[in-house]
Symmetry: C2
Subunit: 165 residues, 2 copies
Amino acid sequence: MVPKTPPAAPPRVPHDLLASTQFLLKRVGMAAKERALAEYEQAGFSPYHHAVLAFLSEDSPDTQGEIADALGYDRGQLVGLLDELEEKGLVERRRDPDDRRRHIVRVTGAGTKALGRLRGIAAALDDEFLVPLDGDERETLHGLLARLAEHHDPRCTLQPPAASP
Amino acid sequence: MVPKTPPAAPPRVPHDLLASTQFLLKRVGMAAKERALAEYEQAGFSPYHHAVLAFLSEDSPDTQGEIADALGYDRGQLVGLLDELEEKGLVERRRDPDDRRRHIVRVTGAGTKALGRLRGIAAALDDEFLVPLDGDERETLHGLLARLAEHHDPRCTLQPPAASP
DNA sequence: TATTGTTATACTCTATAACTATA
DNA sequence: TATAGTTATAGAGTATAACAATA
């Protein structure tokens, strides 16, 4: 069989699209997401579990509503995540005595330990994903992304304006 | 009712996560995607339509398989996209006389005109999404993302190594 | 009546796998 | 038999809305 295009010209994304930063953001963000899902899954977790544990380790104890709001998750979705974390003994749910509708969630010792492993996974993912960039470039990228994230989602602000009363 | 946290501390994403570049990439990429979907939809299109038209305007005519491979779309998914574009008279499908299994797809004049509008939407999206960054920063970000995209997906390479026979 | 957590439902997207017509 | 396009099916993921307990 004689192919019509001898070196079989590799299919390319049109540079019209490659010229668009938001197109690249979508593409690269998607690739990062897929890569992360696969890596967390090998450890029996998802990035969502990591997010919940990380949040609780900084602001624990908290109610489910606060966790969902902070991370931008649906409350129904969070229920399942907490079920899984609780089943592994990484978090605890208790009724709030002051408002018995609420559940107080808190990380356990095992949860803190698991968080350490998840941090390792995240660091390894960063390292692998950013391999074409040197140290300075990674910092630059991170800074620019942080500013975009903060602009499009106030919850991603690092230092909330310390309101002094 | 007296709230326990008087200024109602705003829910924040843990900085553990904000310190991870791939986390930011996922978040910002998602935000870009949602924003883009909404904007294209107002014009009666999706970013996928734009991608197909952009590819055809650079490499037309092509077969459906080539389009799908270049853009990374599933072939079944592409059928629907082409149906919609064809219905609007923006592309044409014809059987390839040399291989009657294949469909030759090509942009119409109306398709080229529509592509112009879609380019405008993409440019406006870029401008709006990157508003916290100045010109130099946007260029820097674009360059870094382009290198990541190219590394994780060879189809995103701008200049394919010109194979001289 | 409004809210918290929960459960159930529906809807979207995607991935898989038949199916046809050609080769 | 294998491939291009098409269609149909199933699965994951997400969003919506009903629900019970409490305020």
